[in-house]
Every structure is written in structure tokens, then in C-alpha cells.
């Protein structure tokens, strides 16, 4: 195997695939990245049994072949190479990398021991890359991080004809976003649960092209697999095998009051007041005509208070929120003005964008209040 490749393209492909390298590989070969050349195309791939990544890029190949080297080291090296074309060649049991005046020689790993990557499932449809990245980012923040509750660490993807709904919840908040896509078969319908961290990471990094192709292994039994691809990059992830919360019945059908907030001003105020809130301590929001007063802290602790102008309709309400959860929602609503709808101080409140249109307006960030001490 011998080829010449453009420096940035190589660094980019290696960095992207290296993301799926396991931190503590269960077998040594999984710490490696596979480089495979055939007919002027280099394929870089990594796999940790959960997530597979693969990037393709054009090269000038002198000879084809396949090899395996330490992924972490390869990523570190390619990232630091000088701006010159890179010559890569397998020389016996070693891989040589020459770039400008820099020379590297890496021992190779037994490529024949490397597990086969899962085959990409069949294509389900395509979605605009920017829409997909935004939607996943908005929803994944509400996913839980506690691995003992797998259901809560995932993003549920519901496909219903040309609409995709993403939902995630850690039971303290729930985020939901709908967007349209182009299914390959009309009237497609599916519901899957994908690890939130992996999905968010993939969506964020697949924005190079205009579209992302979504692939899905349709079989209801056995290994469920989601594939995402675009711009010469493709990744697969195993699905979570867990029931999702029956969230639709939980969403409040109507509200008795609502406030319209200037997102930037309200965020600033909430951040300031939250400075005195101890871990898990609530932000007290007193909504009245024309204003909300934010308070935090206790009798024996530091206290803070700030008044913020809002448009408010409904009975005067005092409701408590975990400040971090509220701020997450405000940051994800992607709108200058947001609407916060409430019923009672112990019932879920829902944050949404005001003045948005189309898909973006479908975003809902539901937040469970904190019962305030009497």
C-alpha cells in the first residue's frame, strides 16, 4: 500500500473516524484505525462494537492494500503535520508517513484480527444537514446521562411519512422537535431509540454536505442499527433496546397562563440570580402582570433577586425551576422571543419559540418545576 494524499483531507478524515475509538479498548486491535486503499480512494475506518465510523477521500495511489495502526497516534500525527502533501506507505511491518521534512514510522497492528464493520443498513431517506444538526442539538440536551437508565440516555426518532419527530427526556425536562425529510419509501413509519451522545456527535460533524442520508435496519428483532452518511463520511450506531416514556399522554393539552420572554435578557438575568443558588436549589420565578421577579438563595445563605420585563397573561404565579434546566431550554429554543406556558406551580411548563415559522416552530422544551419550600 502506497499513496499520496492532501494533508488537510487526511487530517480531517482521521480525526473524524478517531472519534469512535474506545477509551479503553476491550481488545488491542480496536485501538487502531484501518487504512484501506483501492483505485485512488482511501477509506479510514474505526469501530468499538457500538459505533462505527468510516471516511472516504481521494488519493493518488501507487499500490492498493489495507493496514491497521494506532488510531490515537495517527490522529495526533496527522493533526500536526506541516502543510505539504503526505506520502504514506506500508513497509514490511511498519507504516511510514512522510510530509515535508517530517518522517514518521509506526508499527502496524494485525489487520486480519480487526472485526468486520457492520454493513450500512438500507437507505430510509434524506434530510437537510443543517436542519438535522440543529434538531438533534436541541433535543439531545434533555437526554439523561445516567447509564443505569438506558431509556433516558437516548433520543427517540419517530418517523411518520415525511415527518421526523425527535424526543429526549431525563424526566426532569423533555425536548421535542419535528422536521420534514424525504423518505425513500412514501408512508414510511418507524420508531427507534438512539444513544443521545453518539447521535449528537454525528449530527454535528456531518454538516459538511447539504444532505444527510438516514439508513435504518428495518428488522424488528436482533441488532437494530442506525446509519448516517454524507460527504464521504458514514457512521453506524447500535440502537438502544428500551421502552421510551409514553410521553404524548404527559404533554399538557392546555395551559392557564403564559409569558413571552426576551430570551437574551431573561437568560442573562437567570444566570445572574442563579449564581447564589446552591446545587439543586431552585430559581424562584414570580410572574405577574408585565414582569417576572427571579429569586434564589435562602435565609441563611446568599440571596439574589432581579426583575425582568415580560408580557404575561394569566393569574399571578410563583413557580420554581432548576436554573440549569431552564437555561438549557433557553439556549436551545433558538429564537429572540420565547413563550413559557404554565398551568400550576407543580405541573410541567413548556418553552417554545415565538415568531419562528415552519419546522423551527415545532420545538418544545418541557420543564418540570421544583416544589418550592413553604
Amino acid at each position: 500500500m502506497k499513496f499520496r494524499v492532501e494533508r488537510d483531507a487526511l487530517a480531517n478524515a482521521v480525526a473524524w473516524t478517531a472519534r469512535s475509538l474506545p477509551a479503553r479498548p476491550p481488545v488491542p486491535v480496536l485501538a487502531g484505525l484501518v487504512l484501506s486503499v483501492e483505485a485512488d480512494t482511501l477509506e479510514v475506518s474505526g469501530f468499538d462494537y457500538e459505533v462505527s465510523t468510516q471516511a472516504e477521500l481521494p488519493v493518488h495511489a501507487a499500490s492498493s492494500g489495507r493496514t491497521l495502526v494506532s488510531g490515537r497516534l495517527l490522529a495526533d500525527i496527522t493533526k500536526s503535520l506541516p502543510p505539504h502533501p503526505v506520502d504514506v506507505a506500508v513497509d514490511g511491518p511498519r507504516l511510514s508517513i512522510n510530509c515535508g521534512n517530517a518522517r514518521f514510522s509506526l508499527p502496524t497492528l494485525p489487520v486480519e484480527d480487526y472485526p468486520a464493520l457492520p454493513t450500512m443498513p438500507s437507505t430510509a431517506g434524506t434530510v437537510a444537514a443543517s436542519v438535522f444538526a440543529e434538531a438533534v442539538g436541541q433535543v439531545a440536551i434533555a437526554a439523561g446521562r445516567d447509564d443505569t437508565l438506558p431509556m433516558l440516555t437516548g433520543v427517540r426518532i419517530e418517523i411518520e411519512a415525511d415527518t421526523i419527530t425527535l424526543v429526549a427526556t431525563d424526566r426532569f425536562r423533555l425536548a421535542l422537535r419535528e422536521f420534514t425529510w424525504k423518505p425513500s419509501t412514501p408512508g414510511a413509519s418507524a420508531a427507534i431509540l438512539v444513544p443521545a451522545r453518539t447521535l449528537a456527535d454525528a449530527a454535528k460533524t456531518l454538516t459538511g454536505g447539504s444532505e444527510v442520508t438516514v439508513s435504518l435496519s428495518s428488522s424488528g428483532v436482533g441488532e437494530g442499527l442506525l446509519g448516517l452518511s454524507g460527504q464521504g463520511k458514514q457512521t453506524t450506531t447500535r440502537l438502544l433496546d428500551a421502552e421510551f416514556l409514553k410521553y404524548r399522554s404527559i404533554l399538557p393539552p392546555e395551559f392557564s397562563s403564559h409569558a413571552e420572554l426576551d430570551v437574551a435578557a431573561f437568560t442573562e438575568a437567570a444566570k445572574r440570580v442563579a449564581l447564589v443558588a446552591e446545587r439543586w436549589a431552585p430559581l424562584r420565578c414570580e410572574f405577574s402582570d408585565g414582569a417576572v421577579t427571579l429569586r434564589a438563595g435562602g435565609d441563611e445563605e446568599s440571596q439574589a433577586e432581579e426583575r425582568c420585563e415580560v408580557v404575561f397573561e394569566g393569574e399571578t404565579t410563583t413557580i420554581g425551576f432548576n436554573p440549569a434546566f431552564l437555561l438549557d431550554g433557553l439556549a436551545a429554543v433558538h429564537s429572540e422571543t420565547a413563550r413559557l406556558e404554565m398551568t400550576t406551580p407543580l405541573k410541567p411548563a413548556v418553552l417554545s419559540a415565538v415568531g419562528g415559522d415552519g419546522d423551527a416552530a415545532t420545538y418544545r422544551y418541557l420543564i418540570m418545576p421544583v416544589r418550592l419550600p413553604s
Binding site: 427526556t169 424526566r171 426532569f172 425536562r173 423533555l174 416514556l245 409514553k246 410521553y247 404527559i250 439543586w280 436549589a281 431552585p282 435562602g298 420554581g320 432548576n322 407543580l346 410541567p348 418541557l366 418540570m368 418545576p369 421544583v370 416544589r371 418550592l372 419550600p373 413553604s374
Partner: protein, 411 residues
């Protein structure tokens, strides 16, 4: 530590008040016909443990924490009475309330003993010794039981003094006499010296506190480790800088159970954890508390004892939540049917429920476990404890409550 010059004993402001044979005394008061007889309180089963014994029984060598079978052999004519925790708790509350009248600086050690710092009480009630006499008289008057009081400048000496004064006495050890008082005592009298340490010390030829005091600190540290060695050396010179801490923030509550015979069946252990969790949660609710940390204690057949704890994201007073955590802790021990003698459940880091905010959970029923348990608390008030309980606790193989000893404690 010199207080106002007016009070004569103001250099000894710490009192250790300890009820004499507390559970047994309460039993004798409840059943006057038992007065003067050797009475033992504890589980009557063959795995029962003596929780308390009157001095008449102690004369035969019966001691607290002794297996009941042994106590029976030592004193065959003893009257064995099962414990009545509700009665003890009631008396304990009254005593603690009495202490609180004297000073806000009360640090309860268990149901029946507490440290009091009476530094600020001198003007109203007289010097520490007068306060001690006053407390003893009031306890005898109001509760019909006796107690002993130790008066000293440090907690540790005060506790030794009350032990020395027992039963029904008061002893003050002024700072100048601490050495004379302390040094003839056996090493076992020191705080933190159990059977094992005592054995280690004996091997070094150290039998009295005075022996320890005259051993170089470095030698003790080499023999016992840094913490224990330094600690014992300080104590042997009567140095104990700890204050009386009335802090309620770190209080804990819980319950434990010694099985009738060793158990290796996880189903039975889980069921016991459920019962103890329910009891712990009931204690929390009764005191208006919630807790964030749950710990379990497991004592194996060979008396090896371990504790494990886990902190919740949110404070709770719900038995079901405590039970889930207790099971998680127990299951993660990965025991392969190890033989277990005792299990315990504790809730730690208690705080008042009223000023603890509660994060609502999506999809949680509005009336959940907590409401069910509060309803069962109410039923217990009307119909007795256990009137309403989880189904798993209703179907017992043996009718009636377990015969082991249960030791709910507030520390």
C-alpha cells in the same frame, strides 16, 4: 475553658448524662412487680441479643449485646422482656426535652444518653454539679428511672465519669484530677479501644491508661497506625478537643435486624430490606425529615461487617425509594449466597422536609408511593404499626413479627 468566676465548678462545663439500664428501667417502671428482680430486655429467640439488663441481672454477668442464650445460662431466673421501642422513644423524647431546657448545646448519643455543654446555663441554674443533681432529680421524678451524670472539662472524661458514677450517681472530675482519675483505668475504658486494640495493647504490655500515657507517641503510632496511635495518646493525657455539637444536619435514622438464624436467601434479605426501609422512612416522616444518603449495613455469619452508602440526587422520605437504593447497594455487593447475620438500613444527612425543595418528575403519578405511605402512617396511628404494609411483608412464613432484636437508633 474558664467560665464566669462566680460558678465554682465552671472549669468543668461538660455533662454526660446516661440513663441507668435504660430499657430495663423503663420496663420495671411499666411493670412495678418486676422491681428488684433480674430483668433482661431483648429478643427471646435463640439468636436474640440482650439490649438492656437491670443491675440485678448484671450481677450475674449479663451484659448488653450479649447473646440471649448466654445470658440465660448466666442468670436462669431472669425475667426476659421483649423490647418496647415505642415506650423507650417516648421516655427518650421527654428526657431530651428536659436537657433542652438546660442548654441548647445538647448532643444526643443515643436514645438514653447525651452530652450537654452547660457553660451558658450557670447564671440561671447554678454550677455544672448543681445542674447535674437537678437533672437527676427531675428524671427520677418525672420518668421514674435513674440516671448517672459525669461532669468534666472534656466529653471523653465526662463519659468515663458517668460510667464510674453508675448506677444512680454523679461524679465530677476537675481538670487537676484528670490524670489521677484516668491513669489507673484499664485501656479498654478509652474511646475507640475495642477487643482487638485491647489485645494489641496488652501484647505491648500496656494494661492501664497510665501505661499508654507513658509510652512514646511514636511507639503507639507504629503499633496501631497513625490515626489510632495518636488518638489514644491524646486521650491518655485527657486531651479531647471535641465540642458538644448539637448539629442536626448530620443526624441519621435507621433500623437493623438480626436474623433468627443466618440467611443466605436474597429474597428473604430483600424482604427484610423492604421492612427496614419502610421503618426508616416512617422515622423520617415522623420527624418531618428527608434524607439524601441511604446506607446499608451487612453483618456476615463470621461477624465481618460492611456498610455501603449512596446519595440520591434528591432527598426523600419515601420507603419505596429507600428500598430501591438499599437493594441496589446490596445487589452490587455481588454476594453469592453468603450467610448473613444482620442487615441494617439508615438514612443519613437529615434535613427538615419543609424547607427542602422537591424536583417534580415527568410522568410520576400525582399520588405515588409517598402518598400511599403517608396514608399507611395514618392507619398505623389508628390501628397500630404494620396495619397497612407492602404485600411482600404480609406473607410471612412464620406468623408474627420476627424474634430477633431490632435496634432503631437516633444518633
Amino acid at each position: 475553658m474558664t467560665g464566669s468566676a462566680a460558678a465554682s465548678c465552671s472549669d468543668t462545663s461538660i455533662l454526660h448524662v446516661d440513663m441507668d439500664a435504660f430499657f430495663a428501667s423503663v420496663e420495671v417502671r411499666r411493670r412495678p412487680e418486676l422491681a428488684g428482680l433480674p430483668v433482661i430486655v431483648g429478643g427471646a429467640g435463640n439468636r436474640g441479643v440482650v439490649t438492656s439488663a437491670t443491675y440485678e441481672a448484671r450481677r450475674y454477668g449479663v451484659r448488653s449485646a450479649m447473646p440471649m442464650s448466654r445470658a440465660r445460662r448466666l442468670c436462669p431466673k431472669a425475667v426476659i422482656v421483649p423490647g418496647n421501642m415505642d415506650a423507650y422513644v417516648e421516655v427518650s423524647r421527654a428526657i431530651m426535652a428536659l436537657f433542652a431546657m438546660v442548654t441548647p448545646l445538647v448532643e444526643p448519643l443515643s436514645l438514653d444518653e447525651a452530652f450537654l455543654d452547660v457553660r451558658g446555663a450557670g447564671r440561671r441554674l447554678g454550677d455544672p454539679v448543681m445542674i447535674g443533681h437537678w437533672l437527676r432529680a427531675r428524671v427520677a421524678d418525672e420518668q421514674g428511672i435513674t440516671c448517672s451524670v459525669g461532669v468534666a472539662a472534656s466529653k471523653f472524661v465526662a463519659k468515663l465519669a458517668s460510667t464510674h458514677a453508675k448506677p444512680d450517681g454523679l461524679l465530677r472530675v476537675p481538670p487537676g484530677e484528670v490524670m489521677d482519675f484516668l491513669h489507673p483505668l484499664p485501656v479498654g475504658a478509652l474511646w475507640g479501644v475495642g477487643a482487638k486494640t485491647e489485645e494489641q495493647l496488652t501484647r505491648l504490655g500496656l494494661r492501664t491508661v497510665g501505661d499508654i500515657a507513658n509510652t512514646p507517641r511514636a511507639t503507639l503510632i507504629r503499633a496501631l497506625g497513625v490515626a489510632a496511635g495518636a488518638h489514644l495518646y491524646e486521650l491518655s493525657w485527657g486531651r479531647d478537643p471535641r465540642h458538644v455539637v448539637p448539629d442536626e444536619a448530620d443526624r441519621s435514622t435507621g433500623a437493623e435486624e438480626t436474623f433468627e438464624s443466618d440467611v443466605d436467601d436474597p429474597v428473604i434479605i430483600h424482604r427484610e430490606l423492604l421492612r427496614l426501609s419502610e421503618r426508616t422512612a416512617g422515622n423520617l416522616r415522623a420527624g418531618g425529615h428527608v434524607a439524601r444518603t441511604v446506607s446499608i449495613k451487612v453483618r456476615f455469619a463470621d461477624f465481618k461487617t460492611i456498610t455501603r452508602s449512596k446519595t440520591l440526587r434528591q432527598a426523600t422520605d419515601v420507603g419505596h425509594e429507600i428500598y430501591q437504593l438499599a437493594c441496589e447497594l446490596f445487589d452490587s455487593l455481588g454476594l453469592d449466597r453468603a450467610r448473613i447475620r444482620l442487615v441494617g438500613v439508615r438514612a443519613e444527612g437529615l434535613r427538615p422536609a419543609a424547607d427542602t425543595p422537591e424536583q417534580m418528575l415527568l410522568g410520576a403519578p400525582e399520588r405515588g408511593w409517598r402518598e400511599a405511605e403517608i396514608a399507611s402512617d395514618a392507619a398505623a396511628v389508628r390501628f397500630g404499626r404494620g396495619a397497612v404494609r407492602p404485600a411482600a411483608l404480609v406473607r410471612r412464613q412464620h406468623p408474627g413479627p420476627p424474634k430477633g432484636t431490632e435496634q432503631p437508633r437516633q444518633t
